[in-house]
Amino acid sequence: MGIAENCLMPLPATIQQIIPETSDVNTYRVTLDDPEAMANWRNRPGQLAMMSLFGAGEAMFSISSSPTQRDYLDFTIRKAGVVTKALHSLEVGGKIGIRGPYGNGFPYELMKGRDVLFVGGGIGLAPLKSLVELMLDDQHRADFGKIEILYGARSNDDLCFKQAVLEEWPKRPNCEVWTTIDRAEDTWKGHVGFVPAYLEEVAPKGEGKIAVLCGPPIMIRFVLIGLEKLGFKNELIYSTLELRMKCGVGKCGRCNIGHKYVCLEGPVFNLIQIKELPPEF
Protein backbone atom coordinates (compact mmCIF):
# COMPACT_ATOMS: atom_id res chain seq x y z
CA MET A 1 0.00 0.00 0.00
CA GLY A 2 1.46 3.34 -1.01
CA ILE A 3 1.67 6.35 1.24
CA ALA A 4 -0.83 8.27 -0.89
CA GLU A 5 -3.63 5.82 -0.13
CA ASN A 6 -3.15 6.10 3.62
CA CYS A 7 -4.80 9.25 4.92
CA LEU A 8 -3.01 9.10 8.30
CA MET A 9 0.52 8.76 6.94
CA PRO A 10 2.45 12.00 6.40
CA LEU A 11 4.52 12.84 3.33
CA PRO A 12 8.17 13.75 3.96
CA ALA A 13 8.79 17.48 3.57
CA THR A 14 11.65 19.94 3.97
CA ILE A 15 11.80 23.44 5.42
CA GLN A 16 13.14 25.66 2.62
CA GLN A 17 12.94 29.03 4.31
CA ILE A 18 12.13 30.45 7.73
CA ILE A 19 10.63 33.94 7.71
CA PRO A 20 10.49 35.58 11.15
CA GLU A 21 7.15 37.32 11.70
CA THR A 22 7.22 38.28 15.40
CA SER A 23 9.39 37.36 18.39
CA ASP A 24 7.55 34.01 18.68
CA VAL A 25 6.01 33.50 15.23
CA ASN A 26 7.78 32.27 12.09
CA THR A 27 6.50 31.44 8.65
CA TYR A 28 7.88 28.08 7.53
CA ARG A 29 8.14 27.70 3.78
CA VAL A 30 7.93 23.99 3.08
CA THR A 31 8.19 21.72 0.04
CA LEU A 32 7.15 18.08 -0.21
CA ASP A 33 10.20 15.91 -0.91
CA ASP A 34 8.49 13.93 -3.64
CA PRO A 35 8.35 16.33 -6.65
CA GLU A 36 5.30 14.55 -8.00
CA ALA A 37 3.45 14.94 -4.68
CA MET A 38 4.36 18.64 -4.66
CA ALA A 39 3.15 19.09 -8.25
CA ASN A 40 -0.10 17.28 -7.44
CA TRP A 41 -0.78 19.17 -4.21
CA ARG A 42 -3.92 21.30 -4.47
CA ASN A 43 -5.50 23.21 -1.65
CA ARG A 44 -8.22 25.80 -1.32
CA PRO A 45 -7.59 29.00 0.62
CA GLY A 46 -8.36 28.45 4.30
CA GLN A 47 -7.70 24.70 4.24
CA LEU A 48 -5.60 22.96 6.87
CA ALA A 49 -2.69 20.55 6.89
CA MET A 50 -1.35 18.27 9.60
CA MET A 51 2.30 18.92 10.33
CA SER A 52 4.46 16.16 11.81
CA LEU A 53 7.51 16.76 13.94
CA PHE A 54 9.19 13.40 14.37
CA GLY A 55 9.94 12.89 18.01
CA ALA A 56 7.30 15.42 19.10
CA GLY A 57 3.96 14.72 17.40
CA GLU A 58 1.47 16.20 14.98
CA ALA A 59 -0.54 19.42 15.00
CA MET A 60 -2.97 21.03 12.56
CA PHE A 61 -2.24 24.40 10.96
CA SER A 62 -3.82 26.52 8.30
CA ILE A 63 -1.90 26.98 5.08
CA SER A 64 -0.99 30.68 4.88
CA SER A 65 0.36 30.76 1.31
CA SER A 66 -1.92 31.43 -1.64
CA PRO A 67 -3.14 28.37 -3.55
CA THR A 68 -1.94 30.20 -6.68
CA GLN A 69 1.58 29.67 -5.37
CA ARG A 70 2.30 26.10 -6.45
CA ASP A 71 5.98 25.71 -5.54
CA TYR A 72 5.72 25.63 -1.76
CA LEU A 73 3.41 25.75 1.24
CA ASP A 74 3.67 28.38 3.97
CA PHE A 75 2.70 27.74 7.57
CA THR A 76 2.75 30.64 10.01
CA ILE A 77 3.23 29.23 13.46
CA ARG A 78 3.59 30.53 17.00
CA LYS A 79 5.93 28.74 19.39
CA ALA A 80 3.45 27.54 21.99
CA GLY A 81 3.20 23.80 22.61
CA VAL A 82 5.28 20.62 22.26
CA VAL A 83 5.03 20.36 18.46
CA THR A 84 5.54 24.04 17.73
CA LYS A 85 8.54 24.21 20.09
CA ALA A 86 10.10 21.29 18.19
CA LEU A 87 9.35 23.07 14.90
CA HIS A 88 10.91 26.32 16.11
CA SER A 89 14.07 24.41 17.03
CA LEU A 90 14.54 23.31 13.39
CA GLU A 91 16.58 25.16 10.79
CA VAL A 92 16.35 25.43 7.02
CA GLY A 93 16.74 21.91 5.61
CA GLY A 94 14.92 20.43 8.60
CA LYS A 95 12.70 17.45 7.89
CA ILE A 96 9.02 17.39 8.79
CA GLY A 97 5.92 15.51 7.61
CA ILE A 98 2.81 16.95 5.98
CA ARG A 99 -0.58 15.38 5.34
CA GLY A 100 -3.68 17.02 4.00
CA PRO A 101 -5.18 19.29 2.84
CA TYR A 102 -8.14 19.08 5.19
CA GLY A 103 -11.33 21.01 5.78
CA ASN A 104 -13.59 22.98 3.49
CA GLY A 105 -11.63 26.21 3.01
CA PHE A 106 -13.18 29.52 2.01
CA PRO A 107 -15.92 29.34 -0.64
CA TYR A 108 -14.26 32.02 -2.78
CA GLU A 109 -16.32 31.09 -5.83
CA LEU A 110 -19.40 32.41 -3.97
CA MET A 111 -17.55 35.67 -3.25
CA LYS A 112 -17.02 36.54 -6.91
CA GLY A 113 -18.40 39.90 -8.02
CA ARG A 114 -18.53 41.23 -4.47
CA ASP A 115 -16.54 43.54 -2.22
CA VAL A 116 -14.78 41.68 0.57
CA LEU A 117 -13.84 42.84 4.07
CA PHE A 118 -11.23 40.83 5.97
CA VAL A 119 -10.96 41.16 9.74
CA GLY A 120 -7.97 39.48 11.36
CA GLY A 121 -6.47 39.37 14.84
CA GLY A 122 -2.86 38.40 15.56
CA ILE A 123 -1.80 35.12 14.00
CA GLY A 124 -5.40 34.77 12.78
CA LEU A 125 -4.33 36.62 9.66
CA ALA A 126 -2.57 33.43 8.49
CA PRO A 127 -5.59 31.64 6.94
CA LEU A 128 -7.00 34.96 5.67
CA LYS A 129 -3.71 35.69 3.91
CA SER A 130 -4.18 32.65 1.65
CA LEU A 131 -7.49 34.09 0.45
CA VAL A 132 -6.34 37.74 0.28
CA GLU A 133 -3.41 36.71 -1.93
CA LEU A 134 -5.60 34.55 -4.13
CA MET A 135 -7.96 37.50 -4.67
CA LEU A 136 -5.10 39.93 -5.28
CA ASP A 137 -3.47 37.55 -7.77
CA ASP A 138 -3.60 38.94 -11.34
CA GLN A 139 -5.39 35.87 -12.58
CA HIS A 140 -8.28 36.34 -10.06
CA ARG A 141 -8.27 40.08 -9.24
CA ALA A 142 -10.97 41.04 -11.76
CA ASP A 143 -13.36 38.49 -10.21
CA PHE A 144 -13.65 40.44 -6.96
CA GLY A 145 -14.62 44.01 -6.06
CA LYS A 146 -12.97 46.20 -3.46
CA ILE A 147 -10.83 44.41 -0.89
CA GLU A 148 -10.66 45.88 2.61
CA ILE A 149 -8.46 44.46 5.35
CA LEU A 150 -8.71 45.39 9.00
CA TYR A 151 -5.91 43.80 10.98
CA GLY A 152 -4.88 44.16 14.59
CA ALA A 153 -2.57 42.57 17.13
CA ARG A 154 -1.66 43.01 20.76
CA SER A 155 1.50 44.97 19.96
CA ASN A 156 3.62 46.11 17.04
CA ASP A 157 5.76 43.00 17.52
CA ASP A 158 2.70 40.75 17.28
CA LEU A 159 1.71 41.98 13.82
CA CYS A 160 2.40 39.19 11.29
CA PHE A 161 3.17 39.59 7.57
CA LYS A 162 4.27 43.22 8.10
CA GLN A 163 5.74 43.49 4.61
CA ALA A 164 2.44 42.50 3.02
CA VAL A 165 0.14 44.34 5.44
CA LEU A 166 2.03 47.62 5.72
CA GLU A 167 3.81 47.84 2.35
CA GLU A 168 2.42 45.63 -0.40
CA TRP A 169 -1.33 45.30 0.06
CA PRO A 170 -2.09 49.03 0.60
CA LYS A 171 -0.42 49.80 -2.77
CA ARG A 172 -2.60 47.37 -4.70
CA PRO A 173 -5.47 48.95 -6.68
CA ASN A 174 -8.89 48.94 -5.02
CA CYS A 175 -7.44 47.54 -1.79
CA GLU A 176 -7.56 49.33 1.55
CA VAL A 177 -5.78 48.23 4.73
CA TRP A 178 -6.32 49.41 8.30
CA THR A 179 -4.00 48.24 11.06
CA THR A 180 -4.20 48.67 14.80
CA ILE A 181 -2.47 47.50 17.98
CA ASP A 182 -4.11 47.10 21.38
CA ARG A 183 -1.92 49.51 23.39
CA ALA A 184 0.18 52.57 22.43
CA GLU A 185 3.92 52.05 21.80
CA ASP A 186 6.72 54.50 20.93
CA THR A 187 7.56 52.53 17.80
CA TRP A 188 3.98 52.62 16.49
CA LYS A 189 2.60 55.63 14.65
CA GLY A 190 -0.64 53.98 13.55
CA HIS A 191 -4.02 53.42 15.15
CA VAL A 192 -4.31 52.14 18.72
CA GLY A 193 -7.30 50.16 19.98
CA PHE A 194 -8.97 46.74 19.84
CA VAL A 195 -10.07 45.32 16.51
CA PRO A 196 -13.85 45.39 17.24
CA ALA A 197 -13.66 49.03 18.33
CA TYR A 198 -11.62 49.98 15.25
CA LEU A 199 -14.17 48.19 13.08
CA GLU A 200 -16.90 50.37 14.58
CA GLU A 201 -14.77 53.46 13.94
CA VAL A 202 -13.90 52.60 10.33
CA ALA A 203 -17.51 51.48 9.81
CA PRO A 204 -17.20 49.82 6.38
CA LYS A 205 -20.58 49.57 4.68
CA GLY A 206 -21.96 46.06 5.01
CA GLU A 207 -24.50 46.04 2.24
CA GLY A 208 -23.88 43.25 -0.25
CA LYS A 209 -20.37 42.83 1.10
CA ILE A 210 -18.65 39.63 2.22
CA ALA A 211 -16.85 39.58 5.57
CA VAL A 212 -14.17 37.00 6.35
CA LEU A 213 -12.68 36.82 9.82
CA CYS A 214 -10.20 34.89 11.88
CA GLY A 215 -8.71 35.65 15.26
CA PRO A 216 -8.95 34.81 18.94
CA PRO A 217 -12.43 33.69 20.11
CA ILE A 218 -13.04 36.91 22.07
CA MET A 219 -12.28 39.05 18.99
CA ILE A 220 -14.52 36.90 16.80
CA ARG A 221 -17.39 37.23 19.24
CA PHE A 222 -17.32 41.06 19.26
CA VAL A 223 -16.52 41.45 15.56
CA LEU A 224 -19.57 39.34 14.69
CA ILE A 225 -21.76 41.70 16.72
CA GLY A 226 -20.14 44.71 15.01
CA LEU A 227 -20.57 43.26 11.52
CA GLU A 228 -24.27 42.63 12.07
CA LYS A 229 -24.67 46.25 13.20
CA LEU A 230 -22.92 47.43 10.03
CA GLY A 231 -25.51 45.61 7.95
CA PHE A 232 -23.49 42.56 6.90
CA LYS A 233 -25.83 39.68 6.10
CA ASN A 234 -25.36 36.52 8.22
CA GLU A 235 -24.91 34.32 5.17
CA LEU A 236 -22.14 36.60 3.88
CA ILE A 237 -20.09 36.56 7.11
CA TYR A 238 -17.50 33.77 7.17
CA SER A 239 -15.41 32.81 10.16
CA THR A 240 -13.00 29.99 10.87
CA LEU A 241 -13.41 27.90 14.00
CA GLU A 242 -10.49 26.23 15.67
CA LEU A 243 -10.66 22.97 17.60
CA ARG A 244 -8.12 20.45 18.75
CA MET A 245 -7.63 17.76 16.12
CA LYS A 246 -5.70 14.51 15.95
CA CYS A 247 -6.72 12.81 12.70
CA GLY A 248 -8.09 15.62 10.53
CA VAL A 249 -10.29 13.13 8.70
CA GLY A 250 -13.41 12.85 10.89
CA LYS A 251 -12.51 9.71 12.83
CA CYS A 252 -10.70 10.57 16.07
CA GLY A 253 -13.83 12.21 17.46
CA ARG A 254 -12.48 15.33 19.15
CA CYS A 255 -13.21 18.34 16.93
CA ASN A 256 -16.97 17.91 16.97
CA ILE A 257 -19.33 20.77 17.67
CA GLY A 258 -22.62 18.94 18.00
CA HIS A 259 -22.71 16.43 15.16
CA LYS A 260 -20.39 18.47 12.91
CA TYR A 261 -16.69 17.76 12.65
CA VAL A 262 -14.69 20.95 12.21
CA CYS A 263 -11.99 19.02 10.28
CA LEU A 264 -14.56 17.94 7.67
CA GLU A 265 -17.42 20.45 7.64
CA GLY A 266 -15.22 23.36 8.81
CA PRO A 267 -13.08 25.17 9.67
CA VAL A 268 -14.98 27.82 7.67
CA PHE A 269 -18.60 28.44 8.60
CA ASN A 270 -20.92 31.30 7.73
CA LEU A 271 -22.76 33.06 10.53
CA ILE A 272 -26.03 31.24 9.80
CA GLN A 273 -24.21 27.93 10.27
CA ILE A 274 -22.40 29.18 13.38
CA LYS A 275 -25.70 30.18 14.97
CA GLU A 276 -27.07 26.71 14.29
CA LEU A 277 -24.16 25.05 16.12
CA PRO A 278 -24.47 24.33 19.83
CA PRO A 279 -22.38 26.91 21.75
CA GLU A 280 -19.46 24.58 22.46
CA PHE A 281 -16.38 26.01 20.72
Binding site: P217, R254, G258
Partner: protein
Amino acid sequence: MSNKTITRDQLATLLDRLVEKNRVIAPVSDNRGVVRFGEIQKAGDIAWGFDQAKVPAKSHFLPQTEELYRYDTSGGELKIEPVPPPRPAVIFGLHPCDLKAVAALDPVFDGAFKDVYYLNKRERTVIIGLSCRKVLPTCFCRSYGIEPTDGQGADLMLTEAGDGYYVEILTPKGEALIRDNAPLFSDAGVAEGRRAKDALAGELAGQFQLNVDLTGVKAKVDTMFEHPYWQELARKCLGCGICTYLCPTCHCFDIIESHSGHRGCRLRCWDSCMFADFTLHTSSHNPRSTKKERVRNRFLHKLSYHDERYGLAGCVGCGRCIAECPVNIDITQIIADIEEVD
Protein backbone atom coordinates in the same frame (compact mmCIF):
# COMPACT_ATOMS: atom_id res chain seq x y z
CA MET B 1 -25.37 -22.75 -0.10
CA SER B 2 -27.86 -24.02 2.45
CA ASN B 3 -27.32 -23.78 6.19
CA LYS B 4 -25.31 -26.39 8.06
CA THR B 5 -24.66 -27.85 11.48
CA ILE B 6 -21.37 -28.49 13.23
CA THR B 7 -20.62 -30.47 16.37
CA ARG B 8 -18.70 -28.99 19.29
CA ASP B 9 -15.67 -31.13 18.53
CA GLN B 10 -15.70 -30.27 14.86
CA LEU B 11 -15.96 -26.56 15.71
CA ALA B 12 -12.86 -26.94 17.88
CA THR B 13 -11.14 -28.72 15.00
CA LEU B 14 -12.19 -25.94 12.64
CA LEU B 15 -10.77 -23.23 14.89
CA ASP B 16 -7.55 -25.19 15.41
CA ARG B 17 -7.23 -25.52 11.65
CA LEU B 18 -7.98 -21.83 11.02
CA VAL B 19 -5.14 -20.87 13.37
CA GLU B 20 -2.66 -22.31 10.83
CA LYS B 21 -3.32 -19.64 8.19
CA ASN B 22 -5.13 -16.87 10.07
CA ARG B 23 -5.04 -14.84 13.21
CA VAL B 24 -7.97 -16.31 15.12
CA ILE B 25 -9.55 -13.93 17.61
CA ALA B 26 -12.04 -15.13 20.20
CA PRO B 27 -13.20 -14.38 23.74
CA VAL B 28 -10.40 -15.35 26.10
CA SER B 29 -10.06 -14.95 29.84
CA ASP B 30 -6.99 -12.89 30.81
CA ASN B 31 -4.91 -13.47 33.94
CA ARG B 32 -7.41 -11.47 36.00
CA GLY B 33 -10.40 -13.36 34.65
CA VAL B 34 -11.52 -10.52 32.40
CA VAL B 35 -13.01 -11.86 29.17
CA ARG B 36 -11.84 -9.95 26.13
CA PHE B 37 -11.31 -10.70 22.43
CA GLY B 38 -7.76 -11.94 22.01
CA GLU B 39 -5.69 -14.05 19.64
CA ILE B 40 -5.86 -17.79 20.32
CA GLN B 41 -3.41 -20.55 19.41
CA LYS B 42 -5.96 -23.34 19.80
CA ALA B 43 -9.68 -23.73 20.41
CA GLY B 44 -8.95 -24.69 24.00
CA ASP B 45 -7.80 -21.10 24.68
CA ILE B 46 -11.34 -19.82 24.27
CA ALA B 47 -13.33 -18.85 27.36
CA TRP B 48 -16.11 -21.26 26.35
CA GLY B 49 -19.27 -20.56 28.26
CA PHE B 50 -18.65 -16.79 28.38
CA ASP B 51 -21.76 -14.65 28.63
CA GLN B 52 -20.39 -11.36 27.34
CA ALA B 53 -16.81 -10.32 26.63
CA LYS B 54 -16.17 -7.35 28.90
CA VAL B 55 -14.01 -5.68 26.23
CA PRO B 56 -15.94 -5.61 22.95
CA ALA B 57 -14.82 -6.88 19.55
CA LYS B 58 -13.89 -3.36 18.39
CA SER B 59 -10.51 -4.18 19.97
CA HIS B 60 -9.75 -6.31 16.91
CA PHE B 61 -10.71 -3.75 14.26
CA LEU B 62 -9.58 -0.69 16.26
CA PRO B 63 -6.96 -2.05 18.68
CA GLN B 64 -6.42 -0.23 21.96
CA THR B 65 -2.90 0.53 20.72
CA GLU B 66 -2.01 0.21 17.06
CA GLU B 67 1.16 1.06 15.18
CA LEU B 68 0.44 3.37 12.23
CA TYR B 69 3.89 3.76 10.65
CA ARG B 70 7.57 3.88 11.51
CA TYR B 71 10.09 6.58 10.84
CA ASP B 72 13.81 7.04 10.84
CA THR B 73 15.43 10.48 10.93
CA SER B 74 19.07 9.43 11.11
CA GLY B 75 21.62 11.43 9.11
CA GLY B 76 19.26 14.37 8.68
CA GLU B 77 17.16 12.29 6.29
CA LEU B 78 13.57 11.22 6.82
CA LYS B 79 12.22 7.79 5.98
CA ILE B 80 8.59 6.91 6.70
CA GLU B 81 7.78 3.21 6.46
CA PRO B 82 4.27 1.76 6.37
CA VAL B 83 3.53 -1.14 8.70
CA PRO B 84 2.91 -4.51 7.04
CA PRO B 85 -0.71 -5.16 6.07
CA PRO B 86 -2.73 -7.21 8.58
CA ARG B 87 -2.77 -11.01 8.30
CA PRO B 88 -6.10 -12.58 7.38
CA ALA B 89 -8.17 -13.11 10.49
CA VAL B 90 -11.19 -14.96 11.75
CA ILE B 91 -13.01 -13.49 14.72
CA PHE B 92 -15.29 -15.85 16.59
CA GLY B 93 -17.94 -15.29 19.19
CA LEU B 94 -19.52 -11.90 18.50
CA HIS B 95 -22.96 -11.61 19.99
CA PRO B 96 -25.61 -9.66 18.01
CA CYS B 97 -24.95 -6.39 19.87
CA ASP B 98 -21.26 -6.57 18.95
CA LEU B 99 -22.11 -7.41 15.35
CA LYS B 100 -24.34 -4.36 15.19
CA ALA B 101 -21.62 -2.24 16.77
CA VAL B 102 -19.13 -3.18 14.03
CA ALA B 103 -21.72 -2.08 11.48
CA ALA B 104 -22.02 1.23 13.36
CA LEU B 105 -18.23 1.75 13.19
CA ASP B 106 -17.90 0.95 9.48
CA PRO B 107 -19.09 4.33 8.12
CA VAL B 108 -16.81 6.18 10.59
CA PHE B 109 -13.70 4.58 9.10
CA ASP B 110 -14.98 4.53 5.53
CA GLY B 111 -16.09 7.63 3.63
CA ALA B 112 -14.15 10.26 1.69
CA PHE B 113 -11.05 9.59 3.79
CA LYS B 114 -10.57 5.85 4.06
CA ASP B 115 -8.91 4.53 7.20
CA VAL B 116 -6.85 1.69 5.75
CA TYR B 117 -5.96 0.25 9.16
CA TYR B 118 -9.58 -0.42 10.06
CA LEU B 119 -10.82 -1.18 6.55
CA ASN B 120 -8.03 -3.65 5.71
CA LYS B 121 -8.76 -5.58 8.89
CA ARG B 122 -12.48 -5.53 8.10
CA GLU B 123 -11.82 -6.75 4.57
CA ARG B 124 -9.47 -9.53 5.72
CA THR B 125 -11.54 -10.74 8.66
CA VAL B 126 -14.24 -13.40 8.60
CA ILE B 127 -16.79 -12.76 11.35
CA ILE B 128 -18.36 -15.77 13.05
CA GLY B 129 -21.24 -14.59 15.21
CA LEU B 130 -22.69 -16.51 18.11
CA SER B 131 -26.23 -16.27 19.44
CA CYS B 132 -26.52 -15.36 23.11
CA ARG B 133 -27.27 -18.18 25.55
CA LYS B 134 -28.87 -15.89 28.09
CA VAL B 135 -29.89 -12.30 28.64
CA LEU B 136 -27.91 -10.43 31.29
CA PRO B 137 -29.58 -8.01 33.73
CA THR B 138 -27.82 -5.13 31.91
CA CYS B 139 -28.78 -6.18 28.37
CA PHE B 140 -31.22 -3.98 26.44
CA CYS B 141 -30.31 -4.67 22.79
CA ARG B 142 -33.94 -5.54 22.09
CA SER B 143 -34.88 -1.90 22.71
CA TYR B 144 -32.59 -1.11 19.77
CA GLY B 145 -34.36 -3.66 17.59
CA ILE B 146 -31.69 -6.33 17.99
CA GLU B 147 -32.65 -9.89 18.91
CA PRO B 148 -30.04 -11.93 20.83
CA THR B 149 -29.96 -14.43 17.95
CA ASP B 150 -29.69 -11.91 15.05
CA GLY B 151 -26.91 -12.78 12.64
CA GLN B 152 -26.91 -9.48 10.77
CA GLY B 153 -23.33 -8.34 10.25
CA ALA B 154 -21.83 -11.83 10.59
CA ASP B 155 -20.43 -13.94 7.77
CA LEU B 156 -21.49 -17.08 9.62
CA MET B 157 -23.90 -17.15 12.55
CA LEU B 158 -23.73 -19.98 15.06
CA THR B 159 -26.47 -20.90 17.51
CA GLU B 160 -26.10 -23.66 20.07
CA ALA B 161 -28.43 -26.52 19.19
CA GLY B 162 -28.32 -29.92 20.87
CA ASP B 163 -24.72 -31.15 21.01
CA GLY B 164 -23.50 -28.68 18.46
CA TYR B 165 -24.34 -25.56 16.56
CA TYR B 166 -26.76 -24.51 13.88
CA VAL B 167 -24.73 -22.60 11.25
CA GLU B 168 -26.30 -19.87 9.11
CA ILE B 169 -24.30 -18.86 6.05
CA LEU B 170 -24.87 -15.16 5.53
CA THR B 171 -22.22 -13.88 3.10
CA PRO B 172 -19.90 -15.11 0.35
CA LYS B 173 -17.02 -14.85 2.87
CA GLY B 174 -18.88 -17.23 5.17
CA GLU B 175 -19.63 -19.52 2.26
CA ALA B 176 -15.95 -19.63 1.29
CA LEU B 177 -14.95 -20.61 4.82
CA ILE B 178 -17.44 -23.46 4.78
CA ARG B 179 -16.30 -24.59 1.33
CA ASP B 180 -12.66 -24.66 2.45
CA ASN B 181 -13.58 -26.77 5.47
CA ALA B 182 -16.54 -28.68 4.06
CA PRO B 183 -15.93 -32.06 5.78
CA LEU B 184 -16.31 -30.46 9.23
CA PHE B 185 -19.84 -29.27 8.52
CA SER B 186 -22.93 -31.40 8.14
CA ASP B 187 -26.32 -31.14 6.46
CA ALA B 188 -27.85 -33.38 9.13
CA GLY B 189 -30.04 -31.78 11.77
CA VAL B 190 -30.44 -28.44 9.97
CA ALA B 191 -34.22 -28.38 10.40
CA GLU B 192 -33.85 -29.22 14.12
CA GLY B 193 -31.18 -26.53 14.37
CA ARG B 194 -33.51 -23.97 12.86
CA ARG B 195 -36.26 -24.96 15.31
CA ALA B 196 -33.86 -24.82 18.24
CA LYS B 197 -32.82 -21.32 17.20
CA ASP B 198 -36.43 -20.14 16.92
CA ALA B 199 -37.18 -21.62 20.34
CA LEU B 200 -34.11 -19.92 21.85
CA ALA B 201 -35.07 -16.58 20.28
CA GLY B 202 -38.53 -16.82 21.81
CA GLU B 203 -37.15 -17.79 25.21
CA LEU B 204 -34.54 -15.01 25.28
CA ALA B 205 -37.05 -12.36 24.18
CA GLY B 206 -38.91 -12.99 27.41
CA GLN B 207 -35.81 -12.63 29.62
CA PHE B 208 -35.15 -8.92 29.22
CA GLN B 209 -35.25 -7.02 32.49
CA LEU B 210 -34.27 -3.71 30.89
CA ASN B 211 -36.47 -2.18 28.24
CA VAL B 212 -36.48 1.39 27.00
CA ASP B 213 -38.74 3.18 24.59
CA LEU B 214 -36.58 5.14 22.17
CA THR B 215 -39.48 6.76 20.35
CA GLY B 216 -38.86 10.49 20.11
CA VAL B 217 -35.70 10.34 22.26
CA LYS B 218 -33.39 11.75 19.58
CA ALA B 219 -35.78 14.59 18.75
CA LYS B 220 -36.16 15.41 22.45
CA VAL B 221 -32.47 15.25 23.33
CA ASP B 222 -31.67 17.48 20.34
CA THR B 223 -33.58 20.27 22.12
CA MET B 224 -31.83 19.70 25.47
CA PHE B 225 -28.34 21.12 24.90
CA GLU B 226 -28.80 23.86 27.50
CA HIS B 227 -30.88 21.74 29.89
CA PRO B 228 -29.82 21.71 33.58
CA TYR B 229 -30.15 17.91 33.50
CA TRP B 230 -26.54 17.52 32.26
CA GLN B 231 -25.19 19.43 35.25
CA GLU B 232 -27.09 17.15 37.58
CA LEU B 233 -25.80 14.04 35.80
CA ALA B 234 -22.23 15.36 35.75
CA ARG B 235 -22.19 15.68 39.54
CA LYS B 236 -22.40 11.92 39.81
CA CYS B 237 -19.91 11.08 37.04
CA LEU B 238 -16.28 10.52 38.05
CA GLY B 239 -15.01 11.11 34.52
CA CYS B 240 -13.13 7.78 34.58
CA GLY B 241 -13.93 6.99 30.94
CA ILE B 242 -14.64 3.27 31.47
CA CYS B 243 -17.95 3.68 29.59
CA THR B 244 -16.11 4.93 26.51
CA TYR B 245 -13.37 2.30 26.62
CA LEU B 246 -15.85 -0.57 26.88
CA CYS B 247 -18.44 0.93 24.54
CA PRO B 248 -18.44 -1.11 21.31
CA THR B 249 -19.29 1.96 19.21
CA CYS B 250 -16.93 4.51 20.83
CA HIS B 251 -14.06 5.15 18.42
CA CYS B 252 -12.20 8.22 19.69
CA PHE B 253 -8.45 7.94 19.46
CA ASP B 254 -5.25 9.82 20.04
CA ILE B 255 -2.14 9.58 17.87
CA ILE B 256 1.00 9.43 19.96
CA GLU B 257 4.71 9.23 19.49
CA SER B 258 7.06 6.48 20.59
CA HIS B 259 10.71 6.91 19.76
CA SER B 260 14.22 6.16 20.79
CA GLY B 261 16.98 8.20 19.22
CA HIS B 262 16.31 8.68 15.52
CA ARG B 263 13.89 5.82 15.15
CA GLY B 264 10.30 5.84 16.21
CA CYS B 265 6.75 5.12 15.35
CA ARG B 266 3.34 6.70 15.61
CA LEU B 267 0.70 4.81 17.51
CA ARG B 268 -2.98 5.31 17.73
CA CYS B 269 -4.53 4.65 21.12
CA TRP B 270 -8.08 4.67 22.39
CA ASP B 271 -8.94 8.04 23.89
CA SER B 272 -12.03 9.29 25.64
CA CYS B 273 -14.23 12.38 25.40
CA MET B 274 -14.62 12.05 29.18
CA PHE B 275 -11.10 13.38 29.74
CA ALA B 276 -10.49 17.12 30.18
CA ASP B 277 -7.43 17.28 27.93
CA PHE B 278 -9.27 15.58 25.08
CA THR B 279 -10.34 18.97 23.69
CA LEU B 280 -7.77 21.20 25.42
CA HIS B 281 -6.21 23.77 23.07
CA THR B 282 -2.56 24.77 23.32
CA SER B 283 -3.84 28.25 24.18
CA SER B 284 -5.47 26.64 27.30
CA HIS B 285 -8.94 27.33 25.91
CA ASN B 286 -11.14 24.25 26.31
CA PRO B 287 -14.56 23.98 24.64
CA ARG B 288 -15.55 21.12 26.98
CA SER B 289 -13.83 22.34 30.11
CA THR B 290 -16.10 20.82 32.76
CA LYS B 291 -17.65 17.42 33.30
CA LYS B 292 -21.04 18.82 32.37
CA GLU B 293 -19.93 19.44 28.77
CA ARG B 294 -18.13 16.10 28.58
CA VAL B 295 -21.01 14.01 29.96
CA ARG B 296 -23.40 15.85 27.67
CA ASN B 297 -21.15 15.18 24.69
CA ARG B 298 -21.00 11.47 25.43
CA PHE B 299 -24.74 10.99 25.73
CA LEU B 300 -25.56 13.27 22.81
CA HIS B 301 -23.06 11.28 20.75
CA LYS B 302 -24.72 7.99 21.69
CA LEU B 303 -28.31 9.19 21.38
CA SER B 304 -28.10 11.74 18.57
CA TYR B 305 -24.82 12.68 16.86
CA HIS B 306 -23.90 9.21 15.56
CA ASP B 307 -27.38 8.74 14.13
CA GLU B 308 -27.32 12.26 12.65
CA ARG B 309 -24.02 11.63 10.84
CA TYR B 310 -24.40 8.01 9.76
CA GLY B 311 -28.09 7.14 10.03
CA LEU B 312 -27.24 4.38 12.51
CA ALA B 313 -27.82 4.20 16.24
CA GLY B 314 -24.77 5.07 18.34
CA CYS B 315 -25.82 2.60 21.05
CA VAL B 316 -26.54 -1.10 20.61
CA GLY B 317 -27.85 -1.85 24.10
CA CYS B 318 -24.95 -4.12 25.12
CA GLY B 319 -25.13 -2.76 28.67
CA ARG B 320 -21.36 -2.77 29.30
CA CYS B 321 -21.38 0.87 30.44
CA ILE B 322 -24.17 0.07 32.90
CA ALA B 323 -22.37 -3.00 34.24
CA GLU B 324 -19.00 -1.30 34.71
CA CYS B 325 -19.77 2.31 35.72
CA PRO B 326 -18.35 2.73 39.23
CA VAL B 327 -21.15 5.12 40.20
CA ASN B 328 -24.01 3.28 38.49
CA ILE B 329 -24.75 5.76 35.74
CA ASP B 330 -27.28 3.91 33.63
CA ILE B 331 -27.96 4.98 30.05
CA THR B 332 -31.42 3.37 30.15
CA GLN B 333 -32.26 5.60 33.13
CA ILE B 334 -30.94 8.60 31.19
CA ILE B 335 -33.14 7.70 28.22
CA ALA B 336 -36.12 7.47 30.58
CA ASP B 337 -35.16 10.79 32.21
CA ILE B 338 -34.88 12.48 28.80
CA GLU B 339 -38.44 11.44 28.07
CA GLU B 340 -39.55 12.78 31.48
CA VAL B 341 -37.83 16.15 31.92
CA ASP B 342 -39.50 19.39 30.86
